[in-house]
């Protein structure tokens, strides 16, 4: 029995540009990218209103939001699976086992994280920003926009955290995507598959590629931050 950890050989294979690996990297990137975009569109407004609002039930809403962050990915996968399967409410759309199904699931994962980070950023901002903007004649929406500009570093952290969660998760991608070679196989489902085949070195090499991809994305976001 040779050591299954001939990592060097596996990495060489991947760097040589295995088309399956390239496809998996691309699928991971664009599904996670779409999910974090949609998740931010949903999460940022929720975070802002919870961060600014002084309404009854706010504390309960924040607690619920915190709890949603702990939602296991397979549970999100199961819930949406039930909706998207042919027997489910949205069955006729035929979305199960498509990239779009993964994007939907990962959006649900990302939104609470983005909302929470946004909430923290907004709550920590100077409380006079919004009233000041509004006395200067800005509308409510415009005032909120000024506030978001002010806390943009916090928002970036929100997006980075959400992106990290969705590109690293395997439960939703596996259940809703089905790990179909060429369409819904992502980095993480490929790692799970290689592990199940006992190809530990290849799985580990894929893991390193995933980390490298995440590094590039974060370097890019870091650049944005310093502009």
């Amino acid at each position: 029995m040779d050591s299954p950890f001939s990592l060097h050989a596996a990495l060489a294979l991947i760097v040589a540009g295995d088309p399956d690996v390239v496809q998996a990297v691309w699928t991971s990137l664009y599904t996670s990218g779409a999910a974090i975009l949609l998740g931010s569109l949903a999460g940022i407004p929720v975070g802002v209103s919870l961060g600014l609002g002084r309404f009854a039930g706010r504390r309960l809403a924040v607690t619920l939001l915190n709890t949603l962050m702990a939602m296991p990915t397979v549970v999100v996968g199961l819930l949406i699976y039930g909706l998207l399967s042919r027997q489910g409410l949205f069955g006729p759309l035929g979305l199960l086992f498509t990239p779009l199904a993964m994007i939907i699931g990962q959006t649900v994962l990302a939104a609470p994280i983005v909302a929470n980070y946004t909430l923290a950023a907004v709550a920590g901002a100077d409380p006079r920003i919004l009233p000041t903007a509004m006395t200067l004649g800005a509308g409510r929406l415009h005032g909120a926009w000024r506030l978001l500009l002010e806390v943009r570093f916090g928002l970036l952290a929100a997006v980075v955290a959400g992106f990290g969660r969705v590109i690293a998760e395997v439960g939703v991608a596996m259940m809703l995507g089905g790990n179909i070679r060429g369409t819904t196989r992502t980095m993480t489902t490929a790692i799970a598959l290689e592990t199940s085949k006992g190809e530990f070195a290849f799985g580990l090499a894929l893991g390193l590629v995933l980390l490298a991809v995440a590094l590039v994305v974060n370097l890019f976001l870091n650049l944005l931050q310093h502009r």
């Binding site: 975009l37 042919r86 035929g94 086992f97 006992g198």
Partner: protein, 269 residues
């Protein structure tokens, strides 16, 4: 804000393009992890895909779930190995036209020293009974897969209800179970194909019992019933099944080798 919204719309439209641009038909097949991991599908599918300008999307899960996907109409056909469940699937009206595809066989794996003495058994059931008596580690799939179904049949034939600390229900795929049994230096029931793929470098377990009619593992293909699920691509699924059980498909299956050893057999030989 407006430009952001329009950018989003454009982005989402782009996302749907890859599927819209490829007008080729799509056929979905659920199958078992052992079939997918054997590598056979990579050479069995492309000739058909080219000829009919279609894509066959393979979803590899345990046999139980593969059939469930067929029941729900989430796939167009299933390729599995658990004859009693397959017959139930057809009898309940979920599938039509079950065809014999190929077969391989199960093998009982164990440590080279074989402390339970499974090699001396006359039948597979007796080999399991010896392991149970010796209370040596046995790793079960425990996932309602075809292999798990076969294992339960064998325990029943052995007149045993496996229970106790020695009996490990992994709830994982064939590969994980072989690895787990290797780590524990225990026993496991595996399909020959996966064992072949693993014995080179991933396990030092050996076959301690093989052959015998009870270890035969027949695979079937079944089209999902179009009367129950009108959206399935029944005509293409039937064309594919005809290809699989026809001369060309059967030849590819019979000629398939890993490290010079055949993995699957057709009924002709």
């Amino acid at each position: 804000m407006k430009s952001l919204a329009s950018a989003l719309v454009i982005f989402l439209t782009l996302l749907t393009l890859p599927s819209a641009a490829t007008a080729e038909a799509r056929l979905r097949m659920s199958t078992t992890t052992s079939t997918e991991n054997s590598g056979l599908l990579r050479i069995l599918l492309p000739p058909f895909e080219r000829r009919h300008d279609c894509r066959i999307e393979v979803i590899a899960v345990g046999t139980g779930k593969a059939l469930k996907l067929g029941e729900a109409g989430d796939v167009d056909l299933v390729m599995v190995h658990a004859r009693p469940l397959e017959d139930q699937f057809v009898a309940a009206g979920f599938g039509v036209e079950r065809r014999d595809l190929m077969y391989n066989d199960f093998v009982l794996l164990g440590p080279a020293a074989d402390p339970a003495g499974a090699r001396q058994a006359a039948t597979a059931a007796e080999a399991l009974a010896r392991i149970a008596r010796a209370q040596l580690p046995f790793v079960s799939r425990g996932d309602e897969s075809g292999t798990h179904q076969k294992e339960k049949e064998l325990w029943q034939a052995a007149g045993q209800r496996p229970d106790g600390r020695w009996y490990v229900e992994a709830g994982q795929g064939m590969g994980e179970v072989i690895i787990m049994a290797t780590q524990k230096q225990g026993y496991a029931l595996a399909d020959r194909g996966t064992y072949h793929a693993f014995k080179q470098s991933k396990t030092d377990l050996q076959i301690v019992f093989e052959r015998g009619a009870e270890l035969r593992n027949p695979y079937g293909v079944i089209a999902v019933n179009p009367r129950r699920h009108p959206h399935v691509n029944y005509p293409l699924a039937m064309k594919f099944i005809d290809y699989l059980v026809g001369e060309e498909g059967q030849r590819i299956i019979a000629d398939y080798r890993i490290n010079g050893e055949p993995l699957f057999f057709i009924d002709g030989n």
